[in-house]
């Protein structure tokens, strides 16, 4: 699975963007942030916990995206 950002909770603070080890997070045209599911690895192999979840100041903003299967580390 990948993580996704709940748009109505995102404040556009950009705390997550520089923390993502995969450059999966970018700013959308509305100033809020989005995660590219193709690049998200849930930080497996990098950190103990997903960095977007760890750094986001608003609870339940970075959540698991049920639409994408779990990333398999090579």
């Amino acid at each position: 699975m990948a993580y996704t950002i709940v748009e109505e909770n995102c404040t556009g603070c950009c705390a997550c963007e520089p923390e993502c080890p995969n450059q999966a997070i970018s700013e959308a045209s509305n100033g809020l942030f989005v995660i590219d599911p193709a690049k998200c690895t849930e930080c497996i192999g990098h950190y103990d916990e997903p960095q977007c979840v760890a750094v986001c100041p608003i609870d339940l903003t970075c959540i698991i995206d049920e639409n994408y299967p779990r990333y398999e580390a090579a």
Binding site: N9, T11, G12, C13, C14, A15, P18, E19, G31, Y47, D48, E49, Q51, A54, V55, P57, I58
Partner: protein, 522 residues
């Protein structure tokens, strides 16, 4: 480096002064506890500090800084640019999710800017408001959690507007990592928000921090935070960078503890302590707002500030402004400078014109001081234990020059035989909007200044005059257009003479409410 060379003479003096850092910090450390000894006729220090109260090196750094000097804030303006929205800690009194253009509190902002947009905005504002002397980056979020955006902004502004002083406000978690860079950019003022030095207290204020790629919670989080904050403060002191400490007074959580915080930060060289009341209106959606955590009353806040005053300078004029506030404190003009409007503005940054304007401000400022000194002579030898508060309606320049009905805040002065000492301000709803009185609004005004014996105004209508009298507050319009402190001392002299002659009886006033609502933008 380029940015350093571009700075003004005053800031170069700051650089030279930094070479003698031990000497300066020694002077800061020795400077304490003035203002409470009555009868000397000496103005209080802290937020009301004047040239005679501070070492010259320190005075030179703060004299035109509205956020550091209560006296300067009547004359000089500041602006904040919101370029750094990310944050690395969560505070129970903060919620950046909600924003309203009419709302004035730390953390709210209507739009965030890129460093390039911020530099353009600074030039646009500085060419419109010549008394704008200070640029701060104060969030929303923590500027040092976004170091690249913060430092890029400082770099651009130092190049384009070299006379503007730069400062930064931080929660301190990332501070030790950036002190050297702050020093490089010639930032000689840093504000650190420190609400506790006891992690048990901290756990009630901070649900989590993000540090070294990990989220920490509870006491562990607070322990790391306090260690980093105090380490950062010590590092700033070692480098001769002035540090102001902000603390949020949260009744029942850290109100008593802030006395300990005050001692801890003073011993590490902090220059000024600003204890602010908690803002916790439920509609702001903060944790404290939702759990019903109350803020302090005016009397509680003043008592805590007074109890810390013997230890170090206290600041009392903070407006807890927006993270994108522009203009004089208490008079937010941010709505005039939105990105759309700035892009259309023709910018003519005329350094000489700004200097000329500021020289005029300086001479007006000297006149205020001279008038106060002259009036103080009349109190020489007067003996009275009476201390009383008065509220003043002013729109700047250190004068009684605002109509009662147009005041969106009142400045509060404590009068005694030592003179008139600024002790704070109170926000109110406008009593008169569109030319007619609003009964409910008058009630909120009276509750906000209920601890005052008098209110000084430029003008006041018959109805509110009578209602104020009924509430035991003397409406005084005889000093319209005159200097505040001079007028206040004259009023006090007359008052104690009347009390001595038995014409009036001095009675103590009650407590007052700190209004938490929005400050209506100009």
């Amino acid at each position: 480096m380029q940015t350093v060379q571009n700075h003004t003479g005053a800031e170069s003096a700051g650089v030279n002064a930094a070479a003698n850092v031990d000497e300066i910090m020694q002077k800061v450390a020795e400077h304490k506890g003035c203002g409470t000894s009555g009868g000397s006729g000496k103005a209080s220090c802290g937020s009301g500090a004047g040239e005679n109260d501070l070492p010259p090196e320190i005075w030179e750094k703060v004299k035109n800084h509205p956020c550091y000097s209560e006296e300067a804030h009547h004359h000089y303006a500041r602006m904040h640019v919101a370029v750094a929205p990310a944050c690395n800690i969560q505070c129970n009194y903060c919620n950046r999710k909600y924003d309203c253009a009419n709302e004035s509190r730390p953390g709210v902002v209507s739009e965030k800017l890129t460093p390039e947009q911020a530099a353009k905005k600074v030039l646009a504002v500085a060419s419109t408001i010549p008394q704008m002397t200070v640029l701060g980056i104060a969030g929303p979020g923590d500027p040092l959690a976004n170091p690249e955006k913060t430092f890029k902004t400082f770099e651009l502004i130092a190049k384009t507007a070299p006379d503007i002083k730069l400062c930064v406000s931080t929660n301190g978690l990332a501070l030790p990592d950036h002190v050297d860079r702050l020093s490089q950019y010639n930032i000689d003022h840093v504000t650190i928000t420190i609400n506790m030095i006891d992690p048990e207290v901290g756990a009630k204020i901070y649900p989590w921090i993000y540090y070294n790629k990990k989220r920490y919670t509870g006491v562990d989080a607070a322990k790391i935070l306090t260690e980093r904050q105090l380490q950062g403060l010590e590092m700033l002191t070692e480098r001769g960078i002035l540090s102001k400490i902000n603390s949020v007074m949260i009744p029942g959580i850290n109100d008593q503890h802030l006395v300990e915080v005050n001692k801890a930060v003073k011993s590490r060289g902090a220059f000024l302590h600003n204890i602010m009341p908690l803002i916790s209106a439920p509609e702001h959606g903060t944790v404290f707002g939702l759990t019903g955590q109350r803020g302090p009353t005016a009397q509680e806040l003043k008592a805590l500030q007074d109890s810390c005053e013997g230890e170090m300078n206290m600041m009392r004029h903070c407006r807890q402004c927006r993270a994108d506030a522009v203009g004089l404190l208490g008079e937010d003009r941010s709505a005039e400078f939105t990105t759309d409007k700035i892009m259309e503005m023709e910018v003519n940054y005329d350094l000489d014109a700004r200097k000329a304007y500021q020289a005029a401000v300086e001479s007006e400022r000297q006149a205020v001081v001279a008038a106060k000194q002259e009036e103080l002579q009349t109190l020489a030898g007067a003996h009275s234990d009476i201390k009383m508060l008065i509220a003043v309606a002013t729109k700047g320049g250190g004068k009684v020059n605002e109509h009662f009905g147009h005041a969106s805040e009142f400045q509060i002065y404590e009068l005694s035989t030592s003179g008139a000492k600024f002790v704070g301000h109170r926000r109110v709803d406008l009593y008169c909007q569109g030319g007619y009185g609003e009964e409910d609004a008058l009630g909120t005004v009276i509750r906000a200044i209920n601890d005052c014996h008098a209110v000084f105004v430029a003008k006041i209508g018959g109805c509110p005059k009578n209602d104020l009298k009924t509430a035991g507050i003397d409406p005084v319009d005889q000093y319209a257009g005159q200097f505040i402190e001079q007028s206040a001392i004259a009023y006090f002299k007359e008052y104690i003479d009347k009390v001595a002659a038995g014409e009036i009886e001095h009675v103590a006033k009650g407590d007052a409410e700190i209004r938490q609502g929005a400050l209506i933008a100009a």
